[in-house]
């Protein structure tokens, strides 16, 4: 576990976001420290995904600021945030369905490649060397890590759901992110796949080669409580609790938010 007093990497300050008259986020503050797994939980419709979309730049908050390593990024477009090291997966899988697994991952390397219209079209020399080096990186670092060797040449649209989730993580990792945003990576997976996914997240968080900060939205409380360093609880657009997993588990307000019944917090698929 990283030391919790060191640098805050991402700071969400008083973010407010409303759709029509519905307040989706009402003044949220979050502090995500370098190298930790930060989970956001809450009942359905609490505003978790809206929060992630604000962080990754798909929504622009109406009030408030988002700081990344001290820099105000509130008005940056998603691709500009990707350059700073943001990467994410989606709740509903958003892969490029017509492309193969390899090509999906290659697209994740977009920012690390340099070929332009002209050199790419000619493909001589630099563009070719770049593609080969890129392939080597993907094979060694991504495909091996996520154990998707056997499907690398298949079209993603045809893969089973669990593997698609894994390919989406692979694509996000190919960017070599510094901040990885995971929107329900375990939703709809079998127990075995959930365990694999949790292992991969821990790998990229703890391996000195990666050391990726993760922001995780997840409904599987067992996983959240096991792997998170910090947990924030949202309910109807407001943050009702924030702390270490064991503090959250004891928090009365959190119990009330989850149907008001104590046991329900611990009811998971396990």
């Amino acid at each position: 576990m990283p030391d919790h007093d060191d640098g805050v990497q991402l700071q969400v300050q008083n973010v407010y976001m409303a759709f029509g008259g519905v307040g989706a986020l009402k003044g949220i503050h979050l502090r995500v420290r370098q190298g930790e797994i930060f989970s956001i939980i809450g009942p359905n419709g609490a505003g978790k995904t809206v929060m992630l979309n604000c962080i990754s730049g798909l929504y622009k908050p109406q009030r408030g600021k988002i700081l990344f390593e001290g820099k105000d990024i509130t008005s940056l477009r998603p691709y500009q945030r990707a350059r700073l090291g943001f990467s994410r997966t989606f709740q509903k899988i958003e892969l490029f369905r017509g492309m193969t697994v390899l090509d999906n991952i290659r697209l994740g390397r977009h920012l690390h490649l340099h070929a332009n219209l002209w050199s790419g079209g000619l493909y001589f020399g630099r563009a070719e060397r770049e593609e080969i080096a890129n392939r080597e990186f993907i094979e060694r670092e991504i495909i091996d890590l996520l154990e998707i060797t056997h499907i690398r040449n298949q079209v993603v649209g045809m893969l089973p759901y669990g593997l698609q989730k894994r390919v989406e993580l692979a694509r996000a990792l190919a960017l070599q992110p510094r901040l990885l945003i995971l929107d329900e990576p375990m939703a709809g997976l079998t127990l075995e796949e959930v365990e694999d996914m949790a292992r991969f997240i821990l790998d990229v968080n703890e391996d000195p080669k990666w050391r990726v900060t993760c922001i995780l939205v997840e409904h599987d409380m067992g996983v959240v409580m096991d792997i998170s360093h910090q947990v924030a609880v949202l309910n109807f657009g407001e943050k009702i609790a924030d702390g270490k997993p064991d503090e959250i588990q004891r928090d009365e307000r959190v119990h009330h938010a989850y149907l008001g019944e104590k046991e329900d917090l611990y009811v998971t698929r396990r």
């Binding site: 798909l58 990467s87 017509g98 490649l113 079209g121 593609e131 080969i132 392939r135 298949q154």
Partner: protein
């Protein structure tokens, strides 16, 4: 389409081999055979072996080549970048006129005017790609149709065609179009120019599609939100797609003036814009080979029909006079039938046949 498995006994040892276009010796042989047919058999042997139809075959091949070049930009925009376009004739026209004006008024050699035509048409296309930043799908059809009517029916007909008081047509005197010392004055020379341009464009687009830019286009087509989150500047790549799509159209236009004696707006009709969309629908959307198959189908069917109706002429005297109508009907009918029975186009069928033969006779 998943990547094809290698035949047993062939192994790749480097990523270079694995990412090559032609991976097995069989494919190499096939491609060399194809090049032989294209470069030697059709232009040199056909006219000698079959004197009565040989040159006709070459001229039909030129038409196919023009269709391929015209449809390639549309394929790139619709099939790869996912941006609808229904006004591609406009950019072909810009290419044709740029080439003609540069040669006739400034005396620039033809090979250079091809490049200038590509650049001008590309930039012009980018201008009409700007709405794609804001609008998608059906609305984009309208803005690209505007490209056709603004460019061809207004700017070219009203202003460009009047340059130098030449009236509605820019006539190209014989001997204007030269490639170095060679004067392009007959169908066989046009044919070689066509083959060179088609191969160059196909290689260029094919290479783009296996590097960063092309993958960004495919990503925008499949899922623009995910593409943007992963660092693709969507606006920039959409405009780049319009630039390259338009530039390919410009090359097509620049090529086509070698086959006509006067450039006039009637060569670049809106129906040709629709025709090339039909080409990629029938050939296969999102397949480079599909463009070739589609162009062959759409050119050969009317030609074959022409032969088929000739013997019926004494029985139905109106048939020849109504041939244009018949051709359009077959065009419409074939698109309907293809959408019903072969929605993935000829390229998919080709892939299936290859796959079947690949595993033949044990197809399990």
């Amino acid at each position: 389409m998943a990547t094809m498995r290698l035949p047993s006994g062939t192994y790749h040892q480097t990523y270079q081999q694995d990412q090559a276009w032609w991976q097995t010796r069989f494919v190499w042989l096939r491609m060399i055979g194809l090049l032989f047919i294209l470069l030697v058999f059709i232009p040199l042997w056909m006219p000698v072996l079959f004197p009565d139809i040989g040159l006709y075959v070459v001229s039909v091949a030129n038409l196919i080549g023009y269709t391929i070049l015209s449809a390639m930009g549309v394929q790139l925009l619709i099939g790869y970048a996912g941006q609808l376009t229904l006004g591609h004739s406009a950019f072909i026209a810009v290419g044709g006129y740029t080439s003609a004006i540069c040669m006739l008024m400034f005396g620039i050699p033809y090979p250079i005017t091809i490049i200038l035509a590509a650049l001008t048409a590309g930039l012009w296309s980018m201008l009409f790609g700007l709405p794609s930043v804001r609008v998608k799908g059906y609305y984009l059809i309208m803005t690209t149709m505007a490209a056709q009517f603004i460019t061809v029916d207004f700017i070219i007909t009203q202003y460009v065609a009047q340059i130098g008081g030449r009236g509605q047509a820019f006539s190209i005197p014989p001997g204007t179009i030269t490639f170095g010392p060679i004067e392009i004055d007959n169908d066989i020379k046009v044919y070689y120019l066509m083959i060179a341009l088609v191969i160059a464009c196909m290689v260029f687009v094919g290479n783009l599609l296996r590097t960063r830019v092309g993958r960004a286009w495919l990503a925008i087509r499949d899922n623009d939100i995910a593409a943007e989150v992963l660092g693709v500047n969507v606006v920039r790549y959409k405009l780049a797609a319009y630039f390259v799509g338009g530039a390919l159209g410009g090359i097509a236009g620049s090529f086509w003036i070698t086959s006509i004696y006067a450039v006039s707006p009637e060569h670049f009709t809106w129906s040709w814009s629709l025709w090339v969309v039909g080409v990629i629908l029938i050939g296969g959307v999102g397949s480079l080979y599909g463009t070739v198959f589609g162009a062959m189908f759409m050119t050969l069917v009317p030609e074959i029909l022409r032969f088929a109706v000739a013997p019926l002429q004494p029985v139905f005297p109106q048939l020849m006079t109504n041939f244009q109508f018949l051709k359009e009907s077959v065009f419409g009918l074939s698109i309907v039938l293809f959408l019903l029975y072969e929605p993935k186009g000829l390229a998919y069928r080709w892939w299936q046949i290859k796959n079947y033969l690949h595993l033949w006779p044990f197809s399990y």
